[in-house]
């Protein structure tokens, strides 16, 4: 009972923000929620948000697990470029769809393995370890495409970006499937517990017998795989691979989506679904600003402002500054929080002097 209510309170800012952004879109653009079927595929602004948001949502799924282990993966944008470059180049060279998909996803897996080994075995800090591939990966993608924008004609591959399954756009289906598989993988096994345990305290976990290197490698591999799927979607959508721009800066959107979703960069408890909500907030804003006809220059500033509000709403420091809530039922836990936090803080400040 206490658990579900606290989970609700924790997730309220994100869900509220998503609803607020969607409502704002609706006010600016009354047709926002209207959905129609055309050529066997759903169309509408809301569908567009989900469709466009799919790559970042996919990245956020993998990123959530990495961040839960107290890591971060900066290379996902570059991995997208690699998998897209492979898919486009192989298709252009006449390969059929199954080997193309296999090799592209395999490349994402290998990239994740590389990151995982650097972090888990060589114990390089995740931000640095994955920075290597973030920089080098784009170079690799450019080598694959030989510096060209590789275009292809393949209805099969293109369908991954612009097709539909039972009227639902393929990217949305792929994202939902990835989310379902991931959730099953971590919550129906003990993997979720071990990921959280490693994120909270790697040493304690290792002493309790958790195979920390394998857990760490696994999350980076999964993250690489998610990035490869996202890369396929982007390449399939534009029917070509642009090694310079595919997935550019998307790693930052993915990290933002995870953090907005409430998973702490300090590792530990994670919520996959809330990361998707985070990705949806970001994409709904992008779409809304586009629809509103604001100058694109405003885009980033509006986005930053909304995100700040969401993050501030989650900040424990801010909740202490706010006036006491009106209802006495709520007053107690917060008052208790103040007293339990204050001495610790005073101690810290004392020792810092």
């Amino acid at each position: 009972m206490t658990l579900s209510s606290s989970a609700l309170r924790r997730n309220l800012p994100q869900c509220g923000a998503l609803i607020a952004v969607l409502l704002a879109n609706w006010l600016l653009f009354p047709d926002f929620f209207s959905i129609r079927v055309q050529d066997g595929r759903l169309f509408g602004s809301l569908i567009d948000v989900m469709n466009r948001g799919a790559p970042v949502a996919l990245l956020a799924i993998g990123m959530t697990m990495v961040i839960a282990t107290r890591g971060v993966d900066l290379s996902v944008g570059a991995v997208m470029a690699i998998s897209g470059a492979i898919a486009a180049t192989m298709t252009q060279a006449g390969w059929s769809l199954p080997p193309v998909l296999l090799v592209s996803l395999g490349a994402g897996l290998l990239c994740g393995l590389w990151n995982g080994v650097l972090v888990a075995v060589l114990r390089i800090q995740p931000i640095i370890a994955t920075l290597i591939l973030m920089v080098a990966g784009r170079g690799i993608a450019q080598l694959i495409t030989e510096g060209q924008i590789v275009t292809f004609v393949s209805p099969g591959l293109a369908a991954i970006g612009s097709g539909a399954v039972l009227t639902v756009p393929t990217p949305v289906v792929l994202t939902a499937a990835t989310l379902a598989v991931t959730a099953l993988l971590v919550r129906a096994t003990a993997l979720g517990l071990m990921i959280e345990s490693v994120g909270v305290n790697r040493l304690s976990s290792a002493y309790a017998g958790v195979n920390t290197p394998v857990i760490l490698i696994a999350v980076y591999v999964w993250c690489g795989l998610c990035a490869a799927v996202a890369g396929l979607i982007v390449t399939a959508d534009i029917r070509g691979a642009d090694a310079n721009n595919a997935g550019l800066w998307l790693e930052l959107d993915a990290i933002l989506a995870v953090v907005v979703g409430g998973t702490s960069l300090l590792g530990g408890r994670f919520g996959l679904l809330m990361s998707i909500v985070g990705a949806a907030i970001i994409q709904a804003m992008n779409t809304g600003i586009l629809l509103s006809g604001f100058k694109p220059e405003f885009n980033l500033i509006v986005k930053a402002a909304v995100l700040m509000v969401v993050l501030l709403a989650q900040s424990p420091a801010l909740s202490l500054l706010l006036p006491r809530p009106r209802s006495p039922a709520n007053a107690l836990p917060i008052a208790a929080k103040v007293t339990s936090n204050a001495p610790g803080k005073a101690h810290k400040e004392g020792s810092a002097q």
Partner: protein
Amino acid sequence: MTNPHAPPLLAIRGLSKAFLGVQALDGVDFTLRHGEIHALLGENGAGKSTLIKTLTGVYQRDGGTIALNGAEIAPRSVEDAQRLNIGTVYQEVNLLPNLSVAENLFLGRQPMRFGLVDRAAMRRRARAILDGYGLSIDVAAPLQRFSVATQQIVAIARAVDMSAKVLILDEPTASLDAQEVAVLFDVMRGLKARGIGIVFVTHFLDQVYAVCDRITVLRNGRLVGERRTADLPRLDLVAMMLGRELEAAAHRLAQPTEVDESAPPLLRFQGVGKARSVAPFDLDIRPGEVVGLAGLLGSGRTETARLAFGVDRADSGTITVDGAPVALRGPREAIRLGFGYCPEDRKKEGIVGELSVRENIILALQARQGWLNPIPRRRQEEIADRFIRLLDIRTPDAERPIQLLSGGNQQKALLARWLATEPRFLILDEPTRGIDVGAHAEIIRLIERLCADGMALLVVSSELEEIVAYSRRVVVLRDRHHVAALTGEDVCVERIVAAIASESSPPVAEARP
């Protein structure tokens, strides 16, 4: 030699400091004279580091006075203390390893010429300073190229060159070998001859007797006494540190369980050791036997426990379990063999703070079963509830984050984590440290009960009465050597203290029982 009426170099009177209601220092006096090496001794929680941090301005004192050469001082920061001529060198050298030796010596006060750092002058002066310490090294080379001992001397040279009159050495020898320690001691004696007062914090009694003029002992934040080294026999020193009046020493409280001596040992260590950690030792542990590890802090107790659980890998010797040699490559192998380990630092190495009591309890069992074989939620709750009841873990429910529990209840939850795996051999490092009296007694009762059930236990503790109460055998460690193994009538506080205080002698291999 010095005028007896002149004020001492450093006079601390009635120093008090409390943290969150815990009195870390309670009216402590400490006097340091010119040209003296003064050992500051005490076990964990005695107040040594609080005293040093108050003296160097890291903490602000609650009460008492600090006088330097008769003038009262109130350092507000480490830099402030440095300006007042109080320099500190820590165990982990706090210099910049990637900068050169010369840069480290002059960091923040480099000789300047035309507004630029005068590197030539800096190197020349660095060479001159280090020559004074008998150290002729390439001062342009990065500091990390040199041994820890050399780095320590550079740190000392820096502190002294910044005109230190009081030099605090906080466990400088902890990671040095015997030869390096000798070099460091020469440096210390040289500084002493120059009239500098040195506060020397160490856990090695041999070193105290080798180099110190006086000894001040703290215990539980209070001053136990100040003595001249020459007037204080080792036995008395150990008694001062451990707080035991030897005459009133407690005898064993419970009859140790009968152990079948002819039975093959569950666990046998032969010549197991690790360089710079603990010297090779032999140790047999039988089922139903509690072996206590006694010794001062830093004597190799925890290191022995870590070797036994595979946290550290031994670089010599063999370990056999049930007569078969095993390679303890890490905790996972140890757990597979039926071992469990409650580490000394519960917070950093034991609990997974943010996770619930339930998750903490089932973690080791789940890890052993593998991720593909999850323990069903219902079963997890059963296990957690059973141990919460059995060990009387005080928590509103099993879903509470373990970090919100008191130390004693965290410890019980960690014990539960291992008991859930039904271990054959449990290693407990300071299982009763920092927990309240009630939980303390419960944990001791639990140890006795486990051993009656046929489990083998290796227990590290600085509470000698406690060790005597439950151990069938006590292994005593000193200066990283297993120096004695006491059994039967010999398991008593007096004999343990005598073994800890014994003069440095070639380490005795454990007598086979």
